[in-house]
């Protein structure tokens, strides 16, 4: 499903070169649910950007569903993101001027689907996250938990194989956080590959596989009891 091979990422700041990722090799199989944990500055975010095709590595190969994506141009990456990856962010990242339904439809618009089809698919995923009665609310009119559920619906709308969730519970109270985690686990049971990025050990405990990253390197990969 996802194969990272010797991925490195360097940033140039003035004359100093920072190594954000140092020869990371990682295999993720379809249907897995895993957490990537590590302190801030560890390269966690860079790894997430890499996995989410928001960025390309300086060195190494990235195969996503058998396709080499590490050398693609921006617009091709946009298309991969649109087709293969659903993003869930810590701060939801919904568009405030659009309603819940319009937010969920957005990736489908970029995919070029017709209005009828978009509407049908969006209503379905909003139903899955339990927001059928909040379709025409703007993000400001929704609670944090509801906003995050809209964001999950948006990530799901295009039916991508991978959901990439960056601290999805970080801005939520514990009850909403639990709800969101339940939805993600349910999605995993239905076959989605779920990648969580978190520094919350409680969250990490809920998944089968944990990857700890430190100083740009994977220092632990496996199950935690």
């Amino acid at each position: 499903m996802i194969k990272l091979k010797n991925i490195s990422k360097y940033y140039q700041t003035g004359s100093i070169t920072i190594t954000a990722l140092d020869r990371v090799t990682l295999d993720i199989s379809a249907g897995e649910m895993l957490a990537i944990i590590g302190p801030s500055g560890s390269g966690k975010s860079t790894l997430m950007n890499m996995l989410g095709c928001l960025d390309v590595p300086s060195e190494g190969q990235y195969h996503l569903e058998g396709k080499e994506v590490s050398k693609l141009q921006e617009d091709d990456l946009a298309e991969i993101r649109n087709q293969k990856i659903g993003f869930v962010f810590q701060n939801f990242n919904l568009l405030n001027s659009l309603t819940a339904l319009e937010n969920v439809e957005l990736p489908l618009i970029y995919r070029g689907l017709g209005a009828g089809e978009r509407r049908k698919m969006s209503l379905q995923v909003l139903g899955m996250v339990g927001l059928s009665d909040r379709l025409h609310h703007k993000p400001a009119e929704l609670s944090g938990g509801q906003q995050q559920r809209v964001a999950i619906a948006r990530a799901l709308a295009g039916n991508p194989p991978v959901i990439l969730a960056d601290e999805p519970t970080g801005n939520l109270d514990s009850r909403s956080g639990e709800e969101v985690m339940e939805i993600l686990k349910e999605l995993n049971r239905k076959g989605k590959t779920i990648i969580l990025i978190t520094h919350d050990p409680e969250i990490a405990k809920q998944v089968r596989r944990v990857i700890r990253i430190q100083d740009g390197q994977i220092v632990f990969s496996g199950e935690v009891a």
């Binding site: 928001l54 649109n82 970029y110 995919r111």
Partner: protein, 389 residues
């Protein structure tokens, strides 16, 4: 992403920020309105000047002889002999003088023209009531008079003057016609004068010799040859090119048209500059908007928006702003042209071409000044854009 969707989004964005959007549009509104108003004033003025010149008669050539240069003058019969020449349709010699006209106890000083029957056609000047001067009036030196509209108003008020008798310099003249209203002309009012048969005028003013002649060429093509012939004839007789002058009305018209045309283009150009300034206003606000919406752009890119999607979105927003401004500007321009036209009492012809041109220019301004901010938005790095607070 389809265009209709983008337009709807852009309109929603404009409505969400009403004041800012209006201020942004204001530059375009003023620019478009200014183009329409100024050009229509220019065109209206040009049209009315042209109309007035043409109202003097078509294919007209006029001759004036300056009496202070030479004592030479032309006699009526001599002038009318030219009529046999090719290309000449009519000849209207004129004797000018100042007289005082009396009706009852009302007295009015005005100018007098001694004319012949050709005058009506050559100068395109008709009676609104009664009859014009006819050839027998000249043969018998009839004491009849045509009153200008202004003269009739002064002496008769609302009464119909035709058939009444007035005294001109103490002599009785019968009013046979009331001249049509011509309105103010470039050279004195055409309505403030009276006309009598030329032969009668010679007696009345005690002047022999004609110093003004209007000649009508048969067609526009004949005008040049008529001018050449007249020049030739006059030179043979007077032998002094400074003593007479032959005017070609078509030439004058062309000159006037050129001047007013230049004026119109200049006015339009100045107004166009304000449109350009409006465009810079759009660019300015768009740049602010791109910065403000960096995060939105990041989100859009993360979920699959390509460069061209973002570019198109911002470009369409610029276009929606500039074309809404254009539409409002057209309305303001139409209203403004009407108001200014009635205040300055000039005809303002707002043509469809000008409306189209002004609107097209507004849209173009939207594209030109929208492309830079839109491109800036499209090129944002999604990771940095998402991190933007």
């Amino acid at each position: 992403m389809n265009i209709w969707q983008t337009v709807k989004l852009a309109v929603a964005g404009i409505r969400a920020n009403k004041l800012r959007s209006f201020l942004t549009m204001l530059g375009v509104i003023i620019g478009v309105a200014a183009v329409i108003v100024l050009v229509s004033i220019g065109e209206g003025t040009s049209k009315s000047v042209t109309g007035k010149i043409q109202g003097l008669g078509s294919n007209l050539v006029s001759i004036t002889i300056r009496n202070n240069e030479t004592p030479v003058s032309l006699s009526y019969d001599e002038i009318m002999d030219w009529k046999a020449r090719p290309g000449i349709l009519g000849i209207a010699p004129v004797i000018n003088g100042n007289v005082s006209v009396k009706y009852g106890n009302k007295k009015y000083d005005t100018s007098l023209e001694g004319i012949n029957s050709d005058y009506e056609q050559v100068r395109n000047f008709h009676v609104q009531q009664g009859r014009f001067v006819i050839p027998t009036d000249l043969s018998f030196r009839q004491k009849i008079v045509l009153l200008g509209a202004e003269v009739a108003r002064q002496l008769f008020g609302q009464i119909d003057p035709v058939g009444e008798t007035v005294k001109i310099n103490g002599e009785n003249f019968k009013v046979v016609g009331l001249l049509e209203e011509k309105g103010g002309a470039a050279f004195g009012s055409n309505d403030d004068k009276v006309m009598i048969p030329l032969t009668t005028a010679e007696r009345l003013l005690n002047s022999k010799g004609i110093r003004t002649v209007y000649v009508q060429a048969a067609s526009a093509e004949d005008v040049d040859s008529v001018v050449a012939q007249l020049d030739n004839l006059l030179y043979k007789k007077i032998k002094n090119t400074d003593a007479y002058r032959v005017f070609n009305q078509a030439e004058m018209l062309a000159t006037v048209n050129q001047v007013t045309g230049t004026l119109t283009v200049m006015l339009g150009g100045i107004a166009g500059i304000s449109l350009l300034v409006g465009g810079i206003g759009i660019m300015n606000i768009m740049l602010v908007s791109v910065t403000e919406r960096t995060r939105e752009i990041g989100i859009r890119k993360a979920i699959g928006g390509k460069r061209r999607d973002i570019l198109r979105q911002f470009l369409i927003e610029a276009l929606v702003v500039s074309s809404s401004g254009g539409v409002l500007g057209i309305l303001a321009g139409l209203g403004g042209a009407r108001i200014i036209g009635s205040v300055m009492s000039i005809e303002t012809g707002v043509s469809l071409q000008i409306i189209g041109l002004a609107f097209g220019f507004a849209v173009l301004v939207g594209i030109v000044f929208g492309i830079y901010p839109a491109n800036k938005a499209a090129k944002l790095n999604p990771i940095e854009a998402l991190r933007f607070q």
